[in-house]
C-alpha cells in the first residue's frame, strides 16, 4: 500500500462519486485521479523521479491536492510548506530538502522570486494562476500549472523504478530548536499505518463529508485528504476558518458529517448561535494540536448533543498517538484517551526506566513512527532511541504524560519550552533567531502566554542596544516579514533586562509571571 493507493482504489470503485469540493469546483474520483496522473506525468517531464522532493507552497486548493498526489504518483516526496512562509525561510527549505521542483502560486511571486533567485538546484518553478503577462525568474524556468496538469503521458511513460512503501512519501517541516525547522521523514508505510489506525476509530464511510479548514501544510489538515479518499468519502476543502458563519452555511449545504478542529476553531464556533444551523448530519468533531478546554467540551456537548467528540493527541513525528473514546468524554474531559490501534505507548522515568503508569515522558512504538529528521542525525538520535527489538527505534516525544491505573493518558507538560499556538508547535528558538537578527536588538526571549482563542499566544521580550530607536511595533513588523503567520508574536515587550537564573541563562518562568505596575 502506498499513500496514493486509497485515491486510486476509490477511483476504480466509485469513479463518479464526488471526491473533492473546493469553492465552486467539484471533482469526482475519476476526475481527481486522472488529473493527478497528468500532474505526475508533468512532474516527470520536469525531471522529477523517485525520491526527488517537490515543494508544495500553496493555499488549500484543488491544485495543492493534485500536486501532492501527482508527486506521490511520480514516486517523489512531497514537502508541504505553509503558504505564508517568507522568502528567507522558503529559501532555507528549498536548500535543505534540495527540492527538484517548487509548486507555488502566482500571487506569491514576490516571495518565490526572492527565494529561488538565490537557490541553485531547482529544475523548475510551477505557478498556479493565470498564465498571462511576461513573468520570468532569473535562472529558473517557469511552468504554468495548467500546462503541467494537461501533460500527455510520454511514450515511455511508466517509471520502471516504481516506489515501494519503504520509500519516503513526505517531508514535513516542524519548528526546530536549531536553525529554521527540521524535516520529519515519513515513508509511505508510516503514513498508511497512521491513516489506517485513525480510520479504525473514526470509521469513515463513502457517505461521510469531511470539512477541512486546516492548512494542508499542517499534518492534521493534510491527513484529512488521505482519510477522505481512502474511505471514498467527500472532502470539502476550505482556506480558513476566518468566516465561521459562511462555513456553517457551507456545512448545512454540503451535509458535512465530520469536522476536524483545533481549540482556536472551537473558541470561534462557540461565539456563534449554533442552534440557528441545521447540523443534524454532523457525526463527529475531532480535536488535536492542543487540549480542548473542558468548558468548550461541555458547551459543544450541550449545543451539539448528537455529535461525537474525539479528543486526540499526536505529533508530526508519528502523526497520531491516541484518542479518547467519545463515550468517555463526559467522565474524563481532560484525557486524550489511549493509544490507537497498532500503536503502543509507555512512560519512561528520568533514568530511562519503563513504566506503564504514573508520570513520565511518553514513548511511542509503532509503524507510524518517522524515519528521523532529514539530514539531522543528532536531532534524530535525541528522539528516536533503541526499542524492544534489535534495530527497532521508538519515539521519545518530549511530552510528559500521566497514565492512570485504567490506562488513560493525561498530558502534563513539555520537557522543553515549545509553545503550542493555534494548535501548532512553535520553537521559541526559531523566533529568537529572527529577533536576534534585527538591528538594535540586544537580547530576546520568547514564551507562550495563555490565550483564550489561540491556546498560547507568543510573547517576545527584547532588550535593545542603548542608542537604538527600535519600537515594539518595529520589532513586530520585522517578525511579520520573516516568519510564517502562526509564528509571529502577538505581543512584543521591550524591557531593560531579561531575568537570569543563577547560571546566567534566561529565566523563562520568571518572564511568564505577571509584572506588577
Amino acid at each position: 500500500m502506498l499513500v496514493n493507493s486509497g485515491l486510486e482504489a476509490s477511483a476504480r470503485q466509485t469513479p463518479d462519486r464526488e471526491a473533492l469540493v473546493c469553492g465552486t469546483r467539484r471533482l469526482t474520483y475519476r476526475e481527481l485521479n486522472d488529473a493527478a496522473n497528468r500532474v505526475a506525468d508533468g512532474l516527470r517531464q520536469l525531471g522529477v523521479g523517485r525520491g526527488d522532493r517537490v515543494v508544495v507552497h500553496l493555499e488549500n486548493s484543488v491544485e495543492a491536492v493534485l500536486t501532492i498526489f501527482g508527486a506521490l504518483k511520480a514516486g517523489a516526496v512531497f514537502v508541504p510548506v505553509n503558504p505564508t512562509v517568507k522568502a528567507d525561510k522558503l529559501l532555507y527549505l528549498l536548500n535543505d530538502c534540495e527540492a527538484s521542483v517548487l509548486v507555488s502560486d502566482r500571487r506569491a511571486l514576490p516571495v518565490v522570486t526572492d527565494a529561488v533567485s538565490k537557490c541553485g538546484a531547482l529544475n523548475a518553478v510551477v505557478l498556479v494562476g493565470e498564465c498571462t503577462g511576461d513573468i520570468g525568474i532569473e535562472r529558473h524556468p517557469i511552468v504554468w500549472f495548467a500546462a503541467l496538469a494537461s501533460t500527455e503521458p510520454p511514450a515511455d511513460a511508466a517509471d520502471r523504478r516504481r516506489p515501494i512503501d519503504q520509500d519516503l512519501a513526505a517531508l514535513i517541516y516542524t519548528s526546530g530548536s536549531t536553525g529554521r525547522g527540521k524535516g520529519v521523514m515519513l515513508t509511505h508505510a508510516n503514513m498508511v499505518a497512521a491513516a489506517s489506525s485513525i480510520q479504525d476509530y473514526l470509521r469513515n464511510t463513502p457517505n461521510d463529508v469531511i470539512l477541512d479548514v486546516l492548512p494542508l501544510s499542517f499534518d492534521y489538515g493534510l491527513y484529512q485528504i488521505f482519510l477522505a479518499f481512502n474511505a471514498g468519502a467527500r472532502l470539502v476543502l476550505e482556506r480558513s476558518f476566518a468566516y465561521p458563519t459562511a462555513l456553517l452555511d457551507l456545512m448545512v449545504r454540503e451535509g458535512v458529517t465530520a469536522l476536524p478542529i483545533v481549540p482556536m476553531i472551537a473558541a470561534l464556533l462557540l461565539k456563534l448561535d449554533l442552534g440557528a444551523y441545521e447540523l443534524r448530519s454532523l457525526r463527529y468533531v475531532t480535536n488535536t494540536g492542543a487540549a480542548l478546554p473542558t468548558a468548550h467540551i461541555n458547551t459543544l456537548r450541550e449545543r451539539l448533543p448528537h455529535v461525537r467528540i474525539f479528543s486526540m493527541y499526536g505529533l508530526t513525528e508519528c502523526k497520531r498517538v491516541s484518542y479518547l473514546d467519545p463515550a468517555e468524554i463526559d467522565a474524563r474531559p481532560g484525557s486524550v484517551g489511549k493509544a490507537m490501534s497498532n500503536v503502543e505507548v509507555y512512560l519512561v522515568d528520568e533514568a530511562g526506566r519503563r513504566m506503564d503508569h504514573g508520570i513520565g515522558e511518553l514513548v511511542v512504538r509503532g509503524s507510524n513512527v518517522m524515519q528521523g529528521y532529514w539530514r539531522s542525525p543528532e536531532d534524530t538520535a535525541r528522539v528516536l532511541k533503541p526499542g524492544l527489538l534489535p534495530g527497532e527505534r521508538v519515539l521519545h516525544t518530549g511530552d510528559i504524560f500521566r497514565i492512570d491505573d485504567d490506562g488513560f493518558m493525561y498530558f502534563q507538560s513539555r520537557t522543553d519550552d515549545v509553545i503550542k499556538s493555534r494548535g501548532q508547535k512553535v520553537s521559541p528558538r526559531e523566533i529568537e533567531n529572527v529577533l536576534h537578527a534585527i538591528p538594535g536588538v540586544a537580547e530576546a526571549a520568547v514564551i507562550g502566554v495563555p490565550d483564550p482563542v489561540l491556546g498560547e499566544a507568543i510573547k517576545a521580550f527584547v532588550t535593545v542596544t542603548r542608542s537604538s530607536p527600535l519600537t515594539e511595533q518595529d520589532v513586530l513588523r520585522q517578525c511579520a516579514q520573516a516568519l510564517e503567520d502562526f509564528m509571529v508574536p502577538k505581543w512584543v515587550e521591550i524591557v531593560d533586562a531579561l531575568p537570569r537564573t543563577g547560571s546566567g541563562k534566561v529565566a523563562r518562568k520568571a518572564l511568564g509571571r505577571p509584572v506588577l505596575p
Binding site: 482556506r239 480558513s240 468566516y243 465561521p244 459562511a246 470561534l268 511579520a480 516579514q481
Partner: protein, 91 residues
C-alpha cells in the same frame, strides 16, 4: 465620507496586521484573506475595531467576506450600517 472611512480602515489594517509597513503594499480592492493580510483571529480584531470606532453592531450573520474581506468591502459595509442607523435615529 466613504473616503474617510476607507482611510481609517486601511490605517487600522496597515498598523495592526502589516505592523506599519508601507501602506502602498495593499490596494483597497485586495482580498485580505487571499493575500495573507488577515487570518481567522484577525477578522475578529477587525470587527471589534469597527464596532468600537464606528459605533455599529456586527451580527454573526454579517461575518462574511462580502462585508469584511477588503478595504472596499469594509467601507461599503460600514457606510451601509451607518446609513441604516442614521435612518433609524432620524425616523
Amino acid at each position: 465620507m466613504a473616503d474617510m472611512i476607507a482611510a481609517e480602515i486601511k490605517e487600522f489594517v496597515v498598523t495592526n496586521f502589516l505592523f506599519g509597513q508601507n501602506g502602498d503594499s495593499i490596494t483597497n480592492d485586495q482580498s485580505f484573506l487571499e493575500n495573507g493580510i488577515i487570518d481567522s483571529t484577525g477578522v475578529l480584531e477587525l470587527v471589534a475595531f469597527l464596532e468600537q470606532r464606528f459605533g455599529i453592531a456586527v451580527a454573526d450573520r454579517e461575518l462574511l467576506p462580502e462585508n469584511l474581506d477588503s478595504v472596499d468591502n469594509v467601507t461599503r459595509f460600514v457606510s451601509r450600517k451607518l446609513e441604516a442607523q442614521g435612518a433609524q435615529i432620524a425616523g
